[in-house]
Amino acid sequence: MLRVLPGAALAMLAVVALAGCGSSSSHTATSGTPLVGTFHLTAGSCSGPSVTGTYFQMIQPGGTIAAGKYFENPDSPCVNKSYTSGTPGRDGGLVTGRYQPNPVPAFNRLQSALADEILAPQSFTEIDFAISTNALDPQTGLKVPAPEVYDNNGRLSGQIEAWSAAWNDQYFNQGSPKPNGTSPGLTSPLTGTYDASTHAFLLTWASQVVGGPFNGFTGYWHLQGTFAPSPA
């Protein structure tokens, strides 16, 4: 009996340790079927003041996601300049289960960002911004997990800590939760919907910028398109 105890204690310790540090999404309540593959994005499309497809908005400090005040991007093709539409990148969109990192170098001589796997670089006040996911978040230097999305009867959840925007030779973590597991300000979890028959999806989240020239601003991300699972 006494011989068994150390083994049982070790097993319990191992379970506790695994529960504590093993899961990359330990900060996020996730359940359901993991969707591993490519979330092919539908390009943002402006029709009058409304926008469909993939886009993002930047909310100024003190504003709300629903009502702003928004940062207006003069280079937006939309009438409502608070919307910056997105165009799918070389991978067609967001890939879960692995990273889509920044290229080297990540910026050109005008300090426009060059990452183009998830979204094509998009002009933001005449300088291109770009999106990537990296094992080490470029702004904070913290290790972050690759994006994960789970389907629970058509409702999506997960974590997208690694979502990073690059602009003007600077990086802004735009993930949810943030790389330290917190959700400051207007940061909201990744949520969405998924139609298993058509594979159509909608993913949204908000992420407050922490540090740098846009400290306190919040990015609201709206990704729409069709999911394609990775080949088994």
Binding site: Q60, P61, G62, F71, E72, N73, P74, D75, K81, L110, Q111, T125, E126, I127, N168, D169, Q170, G211, G212, P213, F214, N215, G216, F217
Partner: protein, 333 residues
Amino acid sequence: MTRLSPTAAAVSELQMAGSVSARVPDRRRWPLYVAAVIGVALIVMPLVFNMFDRAPKGATMLEEFRPFMTTARLDGFQADIRQVSAAVAETNGPVSQRLRSSAGSGAGSSSFPSSYTSLSSQWPVIDATMTNLLDKVQGNLGNYRAVAALPSFTLFPWFFVLPGVITLGLAGAGLLWPRRRGRVRVALVVLGVGLILAPAVFQMWQRAPEGGRMMSAFRTIETTSNVERIQGYFSTMASGQGAIRLDIVPALERSGLTTAEIESQFPAVATLDSNWVHILNDMTPMIGAMSDGVPDYQAISSLPAFPLFPWFFVLPGVVLGGLALLIRPQGAS
């Protein structure tokens, strides 16, 4: 004759000191007790003022500002503001007249996009605020350099803790080994003189008040509300410049002007257009440094005032030196 080991000698001294003190109050001890208290105070002071947390933030703030605190860089920011100012004035004046006349009548500045009119209406306030801010920063360039030339803020707590530990050690040695009080006395005098000279060696008498003036000047700059105001200005400027680039210049082209004619007739608008990316490259990191500096500034502004710092060395130095002179080695009359 048997020689005692050092430990045995110390025990013997302690026993002697104990037996002597048991018989006669040792009035020569009190300077050592006071020195011990000063030592403890020096050790505790950084903890009381939370220096181990706050002082490194001062070092971080100085480092964040370093790239921008040059005459050339600050002159560049002033030039950026002047360029926007000139472009707004030109758009409101000659450009508006040109567009109005080419349209026949009726269309004037009121036909500009709202993102431009927003910039135009806010510009006098933005200009005054930004120019005042840059003047203030530029006026404190010398003060910044003086503070940056001090030893790293990260070391500051140790400037108190180390002399404190040494003082406490010496006082303890003097109390434990009365026969060594002569050496303790000399060491305390040396330490006291060192503390008195330290501010002069680090030019603190000049630099600390300059740092104090910089901290005062930055009090209204390094606040969350001020940084958010400047972020808002930046947003307005970016939208307004976009309107000039994407709406107003094309309108001039539609009025029959070539690119070369726009550049020659409206040089301020053309200059802002061609320099805008450079202005963004220049200004956004500065706004980032200002924003990131707010918590750092607030941390160091809650430390004791900079001009007091030399006195934190001199006063303990004078007291320690004076106490040392009052210590009488055992056997001395």
